[in-house]
Amino acid sequence: MTLSIYGQTLNSRLLIGSALYPSPQIMKQAILASGSQVVTLSLKRQKPNEHSGQQIWQYLQDVVKQVNGYLLPNTAGCKTAKEAVTLAKMSREIFQTNWIKLEVIGDDYNLQPDAIELLKATQQLISAGFKVLPYCTDDLVLCQRLYDLGCEVIMPWASPIGTGKGLMNPYNLETIRLRLPNATLILDAGIGKPSDACLAMEMGFDGVLLNSAIALANNPIGMASAFNSAIRAGEQAYVAGIMPERQTAHPSTPTLDTPFWHQAK
């Protein structure tokens, strides 16, 4: 089933990062195996006459073209709204897209987003015509504020970036889903295993964004395929309707006409 991001219809609910792969070739094969049509990337300072960045850029363009997909630039490394807005504008000029994965980091230890700067940057970027995909914590009120500002897509973390700890606070995430039924919710960061992604989809999340869990696997291409399957399975389960959890045991085999030899004298 399809996912809609700011009016663009996608055949996959997985958004994939392009960093940390053992090689550009493995990155390309992993992206193809993932089925994803949205690839994240970033900007860094250029050294005079350094051409490696140009090669990577060419490679990413080719991959995205091959999957008929979209680039999603991020503002990684920014710590203030001003930095993030400037980087977003630079990204827009280079990548020719209004989409921006907005990251404004408030703490170096756990790379937790700075909620105040994030809201400030979101407001400025939306005014400047951007389609903002904010990376945020699993704080319901922050997500609500981002949605109220005009973010159709909200991306709360599962856990800190690169930890692979999975869904730290399932209750918070379920509550965000419940309270923001019309927002497109993408679980971003901290996912370690395909089962984490599947769980998010079973909760009713619209998609998952990840990088390290695939890029740092022993076999990134195989892991990309596993995430592809897990996300589809989780979505199918959500649509099919998961049975309510029950406190007590219920026999699944009919008890009527149970064979007599189990009966007490």
Binding site: A19, T40, L43, G53, W57, A76, T86
Partner: protein, 70 residues
């Protein structure tokens, strides 16, 4: 005058301001077709504005290029 590109110092014998276009020719030693974007003192400068945006003594330019990201 002196200014900085990606924290590298560039010195011009002239004391008058110079355009972003001229400053970029100092950074890129030979003509190239890199994909990049520019910020001056932390503010984005669009390509169309390179010719008439002036770099003053002590200014800081950032030149960024695409890289993989998560």
């Amino acid at each position: 005058m002196k200014f900085y590109i990606n924290d590298q110092t560039y010195t011009l014998t002239s004391t008058s301001d110079t355009s972003v276009t001229t400053a970029l020719t100092l950074h890129f030693n030979k003509p190239q077709q890199s994909t990049f974007a520019v910020a001056l003192n932390g503010d984005f400068i669009g390509k169309a504005d390179y010719g008439h945006t002036m770099v003053k003594n002590g200014d800081r330019l950032d030149i960024l290029q695409p890289i993989q990201g998560g």
